[in-house]
Every structure is written in structure tokens, then in C-alpha cells.
Symmetry: C2
Subunit: 197 residues, 2 copies
């Protein structure tokens, strides 16, 4: 059809998670129905999000400031740290609203197959926080996958000798699933039934 | 979570067709993993598509020039016009590759309920083309919905008195469905089995 601008836009939409060719086409066409202002707003929001959102210096959560809103919040219980694989898992956990501790994003899982070793993850900074911040409990909320379990075990072995309570989210979530996909009730049950490692 | 840039981006993704809150969140997060250059390319492709893609002066198809590639193509049979509701239907028809005529986008369907009258559609320009361009056949490819059928009937009643062959896409497509969603084989069958009105 020789509409290079449209083809480029379709390709851009296809790069998004779970977007196939047909969906990408529909998205691109919908942009053609936008006003000039709407298209500019959309484009600007992409640039802005990329530019403004950094990583929290303490927990590696997404943040528009040096320190994220959770770490800055005086009401949060700083002695409980919930360890997650990815910053987006924090959003899922925050939706439940009954967790009042803080977080630590390790940025993945130990996976020798993919060449990811403990050194590639934010585990040293976690140990440093535990040593310095008076941590009482660490809840490990890595995903219930093989890599997530391995990582949970690895971290618990490092932390338990320090005399700190280490727990793991209960299997309220479907095994093999991802935290990011779980509904809020499931996450709440998993939090309540957390078991000591 | 107080990440206004992210919330704005999620809202932008939610405005796209068939994108719910969860999908929009995943899309927005995926942007955070983009490099600065990738984010800028995506933003630019939105602006470019909106700015560069206009409507063909002859058939109202999407086009980056005054006249669209189909109308400009000397190999296309100008005496056969396929009437579609929407410019994106042309992409679906072009994928079949065995239609060699031209198109006319009427821009919707007659729908008294929604206040759309024949005057709101590109029907006058269709009649003008038929009068001036030596048209032999008009294939009406409006969607097989009540409004699409009504519009097909209305157009055929205007054109048949001019001594022009008018046909309608066969019901190879599921009734109530939309051209935009049909697969290529279905569209091919519908083209082959077109019946005279």
C-alpha cells in the first residue's frame, strides 16, 4: 500500500508486549483518527515517561525523584522489606493496600542458563540495607517459577544467618504464573499466608 | 504510587482499541525498558503518521500524497470501483491480491439512528466518478450489518439506473461481522462469489 509512515507506526506498536499484527494495525489506524493535539500528547507522554522515570537510589523502584514515594513515606514500616524481581511487581503489591513495609527490587532472578548470577542482581544493596536499617523481616516475593524459587532460596540462605525472619509469599498464586498477572485477592491471600523459610 | 508520567502514559495506551488497564500498564512499563532513542523513534512515528497520512482526492483512501497509490497505478482497472465503508477496509481487500480494480471510501454507513444521512457520506463524489470515468462495475463491500446492507441497497438504487453493473460481496463473511476482522481466504471467497444486486 506504500504508506511508509503507517508501516513504521504499526511496527512500533508490534514491539509492545502481546500486540500482534492485526492489533498493531488497529492501533495505528486509531492514531489517524486522533486530532493533531491528541497525537502530540501521546508522543509527548512516551518521551516524558522515559525521561522522568528513574530508579530509586534505595530500593531500585521506579521513581520520578532520587528516592521513591514508598521509601520517602514516614508511615511505612522500614523494618520489613519485600523483595521483588521487578519494579512493576511493586504496583501489583501496592494495589492490595494491606502491606505497609518497604521494597527491594533485585532486577531479575538467578538463572545460570541465561548467564544471570547473583552478582548481576541488586542483592548486595539488599544486604547493605539489612545491615544498616534495622530490618526485622524480609518477605521474598519472587515469582513461583523455578528461577524465582532458586533466587528465594539463595537470598534466604544469605539472610537467615543474620537472625532475620525470612518469609516467602504463600502459593496462593498459580504455580508457574507471574506476580504481574495475578489478581488482587490472590496477591492478598499470598501475603497473609506467607511462610517462614 | 505517585508516578504521574507513568499514569499519563498508561492512560494514553488505554485509549487505543481493545486495550484494558492491565495491558496498558504492561505497555507503559515496556517503554521504561526502551533506550532513549527507541522512545524517541516511537514518539516520532506517531507524529509522522498523523502528519503525513492524508486522504486521496479521488477515492478518500489513506495516502501520503494527493492521489493514493491505488488510484495512481496504471495497472489497475479504473472501470471497476469497489465501495468500502472505511479506508482500513482497503488494506484487508488489498491483502487478497486478486482484486485489480480501484476503490471508493464512503466513510461510514447510512444510519438514521446515529444521524448519519447519505449526505454525510462520500456518495456524491462516487456518482461523479461513475459519470466521468467510464465505470463498468461497482462492487459494494460495505460490512454485512444492517447499516451496511441499507447503505449497499441505497447506493445500488442510485447506480443501477445508470446502466452499470452493481454487485455485492458474497456472504462468505460471518453475518454481523466486520471486514476489518475477516481473514484473507474469507475475503477472497466473498470477492469471487459477489452477486448482482
Amino acid at each position: 500500500m506504500a504508506l511508509p509512515s503507517l508501516e513504521i507506526l504499526i511496527e512500533q506498536f508490534r514491539k509492545l508486549p502481546s500486540v500482534g499484527r492485526k492489533s498493531a494495525e488497529r492501533m495505528a489506524y486509531s492514531i489517524l483518527d486522533y486530532s493533531k493535539e491528541e497525537a502530540e500528547l501521546f508522543a509527548k507522554s512516551i518521551i516524558d515517561a522515559k525521561e522522568n522515570i528513574k530508579r530509586c537510589k534505595i530500593c531500585h523502584n521506579f521513581s520520578e525523584d532520587e528516592i521513591c514515594p514508598v521509601c520517602r513515606d514516614d508511615q511505612r514500616e522500614k523494618s520489613i522489606i519485600c523483595v521483588v524481581e521487578d519494579a512493576r511487581d511493586i504496583i501489583s503489591l501496592e494495589k492490595v493496600k494491606n502491606y505497609n513495609g518497604v521494597y527491594h527490587v533485585i532486577g531479575g532472578t538467578i538463572s545460570p542458563m541465561n548467564g544471570v548470577t547473583p552478582d548481576d542482581l541488586n542483592i548486595k544493596s539488599l544486604l547493605m540495607r539489612i545491615n544498616n536499617d534495622g530490618t526485622n523481616e524480609v518477605i521474598i516475593a519472587t515469582n513461583p517459577t523455578v528461577e524465582g524459587e532458586t533466587t528465594a532460596l539463595y537470598i534466604s540462605k544469605l539472610i537467615k544467618p543474620l537472625g532475620i525472619k525470612v518469609s516467602r509469599l504463600a502459593y496462593g498464586m498459580p504455580v508457574g504464573g507471574e506476580l504481574d498477572h495475578a489478581d488482587e485477592v490472590t496477591i492478598m491471600r499470598a501475603l497473609e499466608g506467607r511462610r517462614e523459610l
